[in-house]
Amino acid sequence: MNPRIALASILLLCSAAASAASPSAALGLLVDSTSAQAAHDGLRVLGTTPGSVADQLGLRPGDVLVDVNGVSLANLGADPGGRALAAATLNSSLAGLAPAAPLRLRVLRNGVMLAMNSPQRTAAAVDSVVPAEAVADASASGSCGRISTFDVAPRNQHLYGATILLLDGVTPGPSGTPSFRVSAGTHKLLVAEKIPTREMGVGPYASLRSRRDNSKELTVTVKPNTTALLAARLNTEKAADFAHGAYWDPVIWREIAENCR
């Protein structure tokens, strides 16, 4: 597949995933909606997505969201499914807001009531990483790039962490580093997978597999001023094939423009 088409597909998937999220999740807000009891005094904040509107508002894990734009979220009881009605109320309040409408929250933190105000913004986390092709060609004068095992690969594409055992025949270092600076050009890697056993879906006996014996070679062409992100792709239809190692493949799942100097 053309890399540009693949990238466009990934961006479309990201946008679709973000738009499918509930209004509170699109705001970057993670709340405990499990039961009316958990939301007795309001909705408990479990986390905020870094860089999201909720994060920029200053919400923190442990905060209790008491009301949103004057709509109380305390003592609302349970919905027919037994979940906190406050979560549905929050989502309907957010869904009814115009894009430019202000957002006013009252939050209980360590017994102190706080007011947080912000104009609402769309918080869909659209992937805005610059594709490597756009920059790498323009800066061809650079003579180095990086290969990275930084594990931020999307799990919904069955991509998991990987380790580089050998880089051009030698152990890469320093150990514990997720990125290795290399000269631009072709490099040979020996890669081991770090796929969690529970993700393989074939039972706990998968933990008996030898990751080192199932290591695989991968040839990577690193472009100048580009970081090639390495991952282990789980082949779900062959997840039980440990004997031949067919259950996984090493892949470069992303290339990003990044100055290697």
């Binding site: 973000a18 509930s22 909606s33 986390g47 870094p50 442990g62 986390a125 529970r198």
Partner: protein, 155 residues
């Protein structure tokens, strides 16, 4: 003929009389057979009991070992860990512009948080929530390391 042969002849001559005198009872062989059978059954029963006991012992040891192993490696509270990492992230200066790697981590975190909220909304059990919190923790860890590197390189 030697003396030994004479003695044997003598003995043979006496034998019929002795045999009739000491004729075994008619039910001797059935009794022997019954006793033999009973002993055989006893031995087999003992062997089965020993094997069963050994099996039970192995099972008990395996169970004890597994519970000990679980007790020895306490489960990580991934939710608490993720929340602690988030607070550490909040404490760092807000970056003017995210590093490309940090943006990738933020994108994956946004996707994961959507899944996590959906799991809470449908009342998913802890065994389903735990892997999501673990992944959130890993991503926050990665983001934290990138932001710290970026921060230190600016200094």
């Amino acid at each position: 003929m030697n003396e030994h042969e004479l003695n044997l002849r003598d003995l043979a001559a006496r034998l019929p009389a002795s045999a009739t005198t000491h004729m075994p009872p008619a039910d001797l062989w059935p009794r022997i057979a019954a006793t033999h059978l009973a002993r055989h059954r006893q031995r087999r029963g003992r062997r089965l009991a020993i094997a069963g006991g050994a099996l039970a012992l192995v099972a008990a040891l395996a169970f004890t070992a597994s519970t000990w192993r679980h007790a020895a490696t306490p489960a990580i509270d991934w939710q608490a860990r993720a929340q602690a990492l988030e607070l550490q992230l909040d404490a760092l200066p807000t970056p003017a512009a995210s590093e490309p790697l940090a943006r990738l981590a933020e994108t994956e975190l946004a996707r994961l948080d959507g899944n996590l909220q959906a799991a809470y909304d449908r009342g998913a059990p802890p065994r389903d929530l735990d892997p999501l919190w673990q992944r959130r923790s890993e991503l926050l860890d990665a983001l934290l390391s990138v932001r710290r590197q970026g921060h230190s390189s600016r200094i």
